[in-house]
């Protein structure tokens, strides 16, 4: 598989605090990569620098090389274009207070699609991809906030899919959900992994083993170990990784 994201010598500071230290990481195309590690280890921070959401944080400074298909995401790509190519699903579902249809159509409309037929088709495909079409096809015009938490998160995934991204970043997408909704989201990730590169931050190590191909273990702003998920969870090469996955700290 070709390399999708290539990160070299990345440092990130929040004011004086260094949140990421010399990160080097290659993320392969059409794979699911999991970021694990204790709270405050920098995994969400790295995730957010991949679609430049860290730009919103005051006093945030980033150095190093972030490349998407060889293009520098901080120099060569327009920020809106980057975010079109690299979608994001947040920790808490953040649907807009409008209808399901308008939520899903928000991204395509943002990128200039106006024809109703085209939008209709995108909305249906995205909802089908997120396997939530059957549940909400009769209530597309109703408020999206009337659905359950799990449904809302799947709608958020559908909304992200609607702009046809290449990469989807997921920031602890199931931490606010019940086990059944969590399983549905995990199944969904498996279904769409052939078409998308997925990077998922998770606190749930079982989740990482269930869905990811590769796992990166973060500690104090550094990547301690990055390998296939199987290797990380069966025979990690670093003592710290072993301590973490066996629950000795974190």
């Amino acid at each position: 598989m070709p390399i999708k994201f290539d990160i070299k010598k990345a440092d990130l500071f929040y004011g004086d605090f260094q949140a990421l230290k010399n990160i080097n990481l290659e993320i392969k195309d059409k794979e699911i990569t999991a970021f694990i590690g204790p709270s405050g280890c920098g995994k969400s921070t790295l995730l957010k620098s991949l679609n430049r959401m860290n730009d919103l944080v005051e006093g945030c400074r980033i150095t190093g090389d972030f490349r998407l298909d060889g293009q520098d995401i901080y120099k060569d790509i327009e920020i809106t274009e980057l975010r079109k190519r690299v979608g994001m699903v947040f920790q808490k579902p953040n649907l807009f207070p409008m209808s399901i249809y308008d939520n899903i159509a928000y991204g395509p409309r943002t990128h200039g699609i106006k024809k109703k037929a085209e939008l209709d088709e995108i909305v249906e495909t995205s909802l089908r991809q997120a396997s939530i079409w059957e549940e909400c096809k009769d209530r597309l015009k109703k408020s999206a906030l009337g659905t359950s938490g799990g449904q809302q998160q799947r709608l958020c995934i559908a909304r992200a899919l609607a702009v046809k991204p290449e990469v989807i970043l997921m920031d602890e997408p199931t931490s606010a959900l019940d086990p059944i909704s969590t399983i549905k989201i995990e199944e969904l990730c498996q279904q769409i992994k052939n078409d998308y590169t997925i990077i998922i931050v998770t606190h749930n190590m079982q989740q990482a083993t269930r869905i990811s191909d590769k796992t990166a273990f973060f500690l104090h702003g550094e990547i301690v170990e990055f390998d296939t998920t199987e290797k990380i969870f069966s025979s990690p090469s670093q003592q710290k990784t072993l301590d973490y996955i066996t629950g000795r700290f974190g």
Binding site: N51, G87, K92, N94, F96, P97, A160
Partner: protein, 311 residues
């Protein structure tokens, strides 16, 4: 063994007694304070009820005597004629005209300001811009009136000239439009600031620009708060008295254009109250009743809209 048991029992009883006493005291204090809070709350409610009762008891008989339709729809207000007529229709129209004018002038400016203050203004600038806008709310209306007389009236007279003497619907609309700005800016911008940051981030993450996220997600999400601010502003404009009297001309007749003078309901009461007697006096109170009903309706609308937001 037995002795220690007995001792234990005794200390247990003792501590129980103490805490029971203290609990009683607590409960008494709590009840007293509860009553104090309740009475405080009642004061304002009683005031509202008394004002309502006073207005309707004093005003309604006059309306009955004049006749409801003659009173509300009569176009001639000649309270001191030998054959007096008490039609307040010109004043109702006058109040509605200046209020509508204030909305036309004030709402667009206020909303654009609010959007800027909430989502585009750099933090350092915000510290300097917001206090003056809030100060606008604290300026006494007589001062607004002076400003209107000295600045806006001559301006309108110079620009439009002719028969208009500058004291007109247009003048009042402009001045009231300025007066309602702080209400609209303050409430709308806090409504926009109260929209969860996650909506904004969600829009950006889909590739929206800052401007698009603000216009298509944040403003729609804040629309009930924005609408509420407009309604409150309508209330303020329709109830304004002093400033309007000073610049609106106060002729009790139906205006033919925005450059004609006009008398509002509030102005009608203030101007004539000092010398009115008998039915004339009661008719002025009845004018107040009409104004009061307007305000009640506006408040009702406000409550409907804000409670919808909570659902």
């Amino acid at each position: 063994m037995i002795i220690t048991d007995i001792e234990n029992k005794r200390t247990a009883e003792l501590t129980e007694g103490v805490s029971a006493g203290r609990r009683g005291l607590h409960r008494f204090a709590e009840k007293t304070m509860g009553a104090v809070f309740f009475i405080s709350a009642c004061v304002s409610i009683v005031a509202v009820v008394l004002i309502c009762a006073f207005m309707f008891i004093k005003g309604c008989p006059a309306i009955g005597e004049i006749g409801l339709s003659d009173f509300l729809l009569g176009t001639s207000w000649k309270p001191r004629d030998s054959n007096p007529s008490f039609g307040i229709f010109p004043m109702i129209v006058g109040s509605l005209y200046v209020t509508a004018g204030a909305i036309i002038v004030g709402v667009p400016i206020g909303l654009l300001t609010a959007v800027f203050m909430a989502k585009f203004c750099p933090k350092r600038l915000y510290k300097w811009l917001m206090p003056p806008i809030n100060l606008l709310a604290g300026i006494p209306s007589i001062v607004y009136g002076f400003f209107g007389m000295i600045v806006i009236v001559p301006l309108i007279r110079n620009v439009f000239g002719g028969n208009g003497r500058g004291n007109s619907i247009l003048t009042a609309s402009i001045l009231l439009g300025i007066m309602i700005l702080p209400t609209i800016v303050g409430m709308s911008q806090s409504a926009m600031k109260a929209v969860p940051e996650s909506y904004y981030e969600g829009a950006l993450a889909l590739g929206a620009t800052h401007e698009r996220a603000v216009c298509t997600v944040i403003i729609p999400a804040a629309k009930s708060g924005i609408l509420a601010s407009v309604i409150l502003a309508v209330g303020r404009a329709i109830g304004e008295t002093m400033a309007v009297i000073m610049i609106a001309g106060n002729q009790p007749r139906l205006p033919g254009s925005v450059l004609d003078g006009v008398r509002t309901l509030t102005a009608n009461i203030v101007i004539e109250m000092s010398y009115a007697t008998g039915l004339h006096y009661d008719a002025l109170i009845a004018t107040g009743v009409v104004l009061f009903v307007f305000i009640l309706l506006i408040n009702l609308l406000f409550n409907v809209i804000t409670s919808k937001k909570e659902r």
